[in-house]
């Protein structure tokens, strides 16, 4: 997994590439948490994520909770069908305004 972070005005975009799993998601968690106090909105672009396990989803939930305390909303964008299906079945997509 790789990711890049780009901030502009009140909005930060995290573009994630590859597979987000238990073995590699810690870095994403740390980087995301570091965004508290920066802007009003964090968009996580999932268009290039082909697989995400429950630990990866846990990172999204954790970021939503953490950044939410700092008044930042987290949105997920463009998940591929398999990731979207996981977000739908677990109903976790709802938390990110996906349903």
């Amino acid at each position: 997994m790789d990711f890049s972070i780009e901030s502009k005005d009140e909005r930060t975009i995290i573009r994630v590439v590859g597979e987000v799993t238990a073995d590699n998601c810690e870095e994403l968690r740390e980087a995301g948490k570091a965004l508290s106090g920066r802007g009003r909105e964090v968009i996580i672009d999932l268009s290039q994520v082909d697989f995400m396990d429950t630990s990866g989803i846990g990172v999204l939930i954790g970021l939503r909770a953490h950044l939410g305390k700092h008044g930042i909303t987290v949105r997920l964008e463009n998940p591929q069908p398999r990731v979207a299906e996981v977000l739908r079945i677990t109903r976790i997509g709802i938390l990110f305004g996906m349903e």
């Binding site: 429950t54 989803i57 109903r91 938390l95």
Partner: protein
């Protein structure tokens, strides 16, 4: 210069010196002993091998030109004699300054090289580096072993927590498979008879895997088992499970589950689906297959105030109900294709006329065939329930 050297058993390490020249041997011995090493001398290859087994040295200093063996060929004999997990470092001593000799020795498994006549300070410095590195590797290996023993222990406890037998209920049969991708895992299933005559069925999946997931799984299991004695209405049972379990979750941890009660009298399956894979029903005669797609609350650990929604389905006679974790449908083949609901459906249909244990084994086999050499990335669990009530006419 070796004042900082860590000493074990009153010396800084055991060095086996294999050297046929007595003058050289004397010199090496005195230099190393001054640095608190214990020196075991050997004049030739034969003595050296015998000493290897007896002394288990921390390092071997080896003259490349031995009277009875070629030093480089001798390296493999030394490693064979110790059978150590961490190969003993071997440092060659030679008057031969030919670069090709050095290359051959290093390729043959030598750790380092010293040219005669050697500088005593360099000799002790090099020896100390390699001995220290070996000691660190040994400590690491020991720590790893201890960790592994603990992991094995957790895995054994966890297996022990799964039901050792599934309930005996007229008209209902069960088969279950549980395969953690690491030693311990966050998947869990259970099936037992409640006091009210209904059968509690659950399959759950804690986010992540390994030891942290295993801890949550154990708590969930204890809570669900306790419910068996209360026979409380399902929403209450679920609510209690959620309240207590969520207390132990760290940020971002959660558990999806199906928690249900099946009534063998009329085939009613009442359940809560907390963000879990929808159960599958197969009608054995027709091969008709459906997913119970009703939605329930969010997974446990995300929103303790979410409303508990229970769902109710009638399982037709001569049907099978499959509860499973996503490890079953998500498992990929070499091309990255998931086993998917289609893979499950086809194995279930193929086994529709078999007894339930055979059908469960067939499903597991189909999954294994699909994944081939691809490693499992997630824990995988399923619980297959067959409902064949006695005819009532």
């Amino acid at each position: 210069m070796n004042a900082g050297m860590k000493k074990r058993n009153g010396h800084a390490g055991t060095i086996l010196v294999t050297e046929d020249n007595p003058v050289s041997m004397q010199l090496i011995q005195s230099v190393l002993e001054r640095a608190y090493y214990r020196v075991v001398p050997a004049a030739n290859a034969e003595e050296s091998v015998a000493a290897m087994e007896e002394w288990r040295p921390d390092l071997v200093l080896l003259d490349i030109n031995l009277p009875d063996a070629d030093g480089v060929d001798f390296v493999s004999r030394i490693h064979a004699a110790t059978r150590d997990e961490i190969p003993v470092p071997i440092v060659f001593l030679t008057a031969d300054t030919d670069r090709r000799t050095r290359h051959r020795a290093l390729a043959g498994g030598a750790t380092d090289f010293l040219t005669k006549p050697f500088d005593p300070v360099e000799l002790t410095a090099r020896v100390s580096i390699h001995v220290r590195s070996r000691h660190l590797q040994q400590e690491l290996a020991a720590a790893n072993k201890a960790l592994e023993r603990e992991r094995d222990h957790v895995a054994r406890i966890q297996r022990h927590l799964l039901p050792d037998s599934l309930p005996l209920v007229d008209g209902v049969r069960f088969a279950a498979v549980y395969v953690p991708c690491r030693k311990a895992g966050g998947d869990y299933y259970d099936a037992f008879l409640r006091r009210d005559g209904r059968v509690l069925l659950t399959v759950a999946d804690v986010s992540g895997h390994g030891l942290p997931a295993a801890i949550h799984m154990s708590i969930a299991r204890a809570l669900v088992r306790a419910e068996g004695n209360f026979s409380r209405p399902l929403p209450l049972a679920f609510h209690h499970l959620e309240q207590v379990l969520a207390q132990g979750f760290l940020e971002g941890e959660f558990m999806t589950c199906i928690l249900g009660v099946f009534d063998p009298k009329d085939g009613t399956f009442e359940y809560v689906n907390a963000g879990h894979c929808p159960p599958i029903v197969l009608e054995c005669e027709s091969g008709k297959l459906s997913e119970l797609r009703g939605t329930g609350p969010l997974p446990i650990g995300i929103d303790a105030d979410s409303t508990v929604v229970t769902l109710r389905e009638r399982i037709p006679p001569n049907s099978r109900l499959l509860l499973y974790t996503d490890g079953l449908v998500e498992q990929q083949d070499a091309d990255g294709r998931p086993f998917a609901i289609e893979g499950v459906a086809s194995a279930l249909r193929d086994g529709a006329q078999e007894d339930i244990a055979t059908a469960a084994a067939r499903l597991q086999r189909a999954l294994r065939k699909h994944s081939g050499d691809c490693p499992m990335r997630d824990d995988m669990t399923f619980l297959l329930v067959e409902y064949t009530p006695a005819a009532t006419d």
